[in-house]
Symmetry: C2
Subunit: 367 residues, 2 copies
């Protein structure tokens, strides 16, 4: 081409690796010449769309020529009531990815330092890199966030810390007391982003009172999503809870119509649908039990997980196993890109999907 | 609060004015104690959702627990075929707002200069400000882009130019030959963003061959939306066409799941629905004729518009007229914020909505 655009783009952008997305399942089936592929790769809810969400969507269809409600008035009201917080603390996002990016863009400046753990969600290094900030990757402890080491990594250039609890892609969990101690030690001029995408899968009695912490730690932002336990990944909707002044900043930068009308309506409906959430969680617990028991029976190591996925250590390069599973119509997630080449991350599916996975593993590993 | 977040945030963010969104119509009806409000304020399609789009949405509902196709494979294929371009030139966005922001973030650096016209889309100054870049606002000519003045405003700090055609909020139009001459004079190291959100409403024979220009002008990006003539504002979906290398950059920075599954499916369906598009355009032309004729009959000045809205000059502060229309249940758009305090922007509605607007104006203005 006649003009070198690579030279014109911002330096942070240039260093980004292009995102390699998977093909649609239909395309893959065509390529492999097989049908009935099951996907246990993206930590999606296997239960199918909640009827409550479906009904809410149907009721909104006639309104789709209109722009969404920019304030997300009703959904914010529902979240505020559900968790007994002020509506002014809430920022809505086009999935929690949108929020993670937004938060970084508000606070992180070129050359600032951003701290996160080894083996943590791929979006943290991506947003850091896009802003041409410096990623400070702290070695994991037992595959999870090493909070002491993260505190020790703080310098006067540090602007932000990302912590996922439970952690993705490893499923590790931080108890409330250790997290609280950590928050009280982080200087107030450093923003802590606590990513609780998988929190609904954790036992209620062990969950951190993170939303209440926002009052004590005004540098804390908690992010959550409707993509996992609430089953709305395809619609893109998540929320952040922070001090109202901070939410005010996020709402200045947020695209005015970042959340679509159907996502707003469906999220409001499913938030009130306690039966769906309970069923999601129970199904997950059952599948997790089944797959862990299988691993234990056959001597496969795995990382105990509080999420809706389990990360299994095959003690040898896992890529060939991933390929063989694919040939048998089971898609799981290779995580070599996370520095875990011997592991595969497996999302918990429906009982019959889990059985199919285990049968395939038995055949491949000759168990 | 114990920590001053305003001091921590990026300077560009701090200078942003918080976005003031309108209330949901239901809330407004409750407040004003009236019902049956009509909204001619946001340039939305009055025709209602296309049946083709509705069917596509219904077919996708069972898939909503899954993440969207990150590549937008089928929609890109449909756009590529429809306009005879390569799929690799396309970037999909969560509405064209997402694309305008994305393009700016890829190329514009702090303190760069960004040129756009007086009376142009509010998103251009917003994205410029958020990046702490310098907005260079060129005085309009006859309420539209003054291309000669914009060329003259270029300096060695200029990184980007935004041009809307047709222009919003004024509806002015640039002919293909003047736009082509302009593009051939802009230095190649300056990105030109041509925002064609309203292009489908313009007569085919006067439209610029903008997508083909991308081959001749590799610094050109054309943005379009499904929010207007295609009637999908509530779903959030738009596309940009550029040199494939540039699209590659955009796709590095784009959130991997920025477009939701229903938007992808509905856009693909409505793009093939030529009857819906033709009906949208015909309805708009008819309403535009009616309102222009009214203005001429009663001596109200208006800006001739190629969009789906008409901007009327009341020759005195228009805010009281806006308020009186509101009391009569007709919402239009005051554009004092654009520096046009005597004008109101009125979206073309259904025949009965247009009649109601004109009746209300007659009463208010005692015509």
């Amino acid at each position: 081409m006649s003009c070198d655009f690579l030279a014109l783009a911002n330096p942070g952008v240039l260093a980004l690796h292009p995102y390699q997305a998977g093909k649609p399942v239909e395309e893959l089936e065509r390529e492999l010449g097989i049908s009935n592929i099951i996907k246990l790769a993206s930590n999606e809810n296997p239960l199918g769309l909640a009827e409550s969400a479906k009904k809410a969507i149907q009721n909104q269809l006639s309104q789709l020529t209109l722009y969404p409600d920019s304030n997300g008035f009703y959904l914010k009201q529902a979240i505020a009531e559900r968790f007994s917080i002020q509506s002014e603390k809430i920022t809505l996002g086009n999935g929690s990815n949108d929020l993670l990016e937004l938060i970084a863009r508000v606070f992180v400046h070129e050359h600032d330092e951003v701290i996160f753990s080894q083996y943590s969600f791929v979006v943290y290094p991506l947003v850091t890199q896009a802003l041409n900030a410096k990623a400070v990757v702290v070695p994991a402890r037992d595959w999870g966030n090493d909070l002491q080491a993260m505190l020790a990594a703080i310098t006067d250039r540090t602007k932000m810390l990302f912590i996922a609890n439970p952690n993705n892609p490893t499923g590790t969990f931080l108890e409330a007391d250790e997290l609280e101690r950590f928050l009280s030690q982080v200087p107030e001029n450093i923003i802590v982003v606590l990513d609780e995408a998988y929190t609904e899968y954790t036992p209620v009695e062990r969950r951190s009172p993170s939303l209440a912490w926002v009052d004590r730690f005004p540098n804390l932002v908690v992010c959550r999503t409707f993509s996992k336990a609430y089953g709305l990944a395809g619609l893109r909707i998540g929320y952040a809870v922070s001090h109202p002044d901070m939410a005010g900043l996020f709402n200045r930068v947020r695209q005015p119509f970042n959340c679509n009308s159907l996502a707003l309506a469906a999220a409001q409906a499913v938030l009130a649908d306690e039966a769906y959430l309970a069923k999601s969680v129970a199904l997950n617990r059952e599948g997790m039990g089944l797959i862990s028991a299988f691993c234990e029976k056959y001597g496969l190591a795995y990382i105990p997980s509080m999420g809706n996925f389990i990360t299994v250590d095959f003690a040898k390069p896992a890529a060939p196993i991933y390929e063989q599973l694919l040939q048998k119509g089971v898609i799981v997630r290779p995580i070599g890109g996370y520095g875990m080449p011997n592991h595969l991350r497996i999302s918990i599916g429906l009982p019959e999907e889990n059985q199919r996975l285990l049968q395939a593993l038995k055949e491949i590993l000759a168990l």
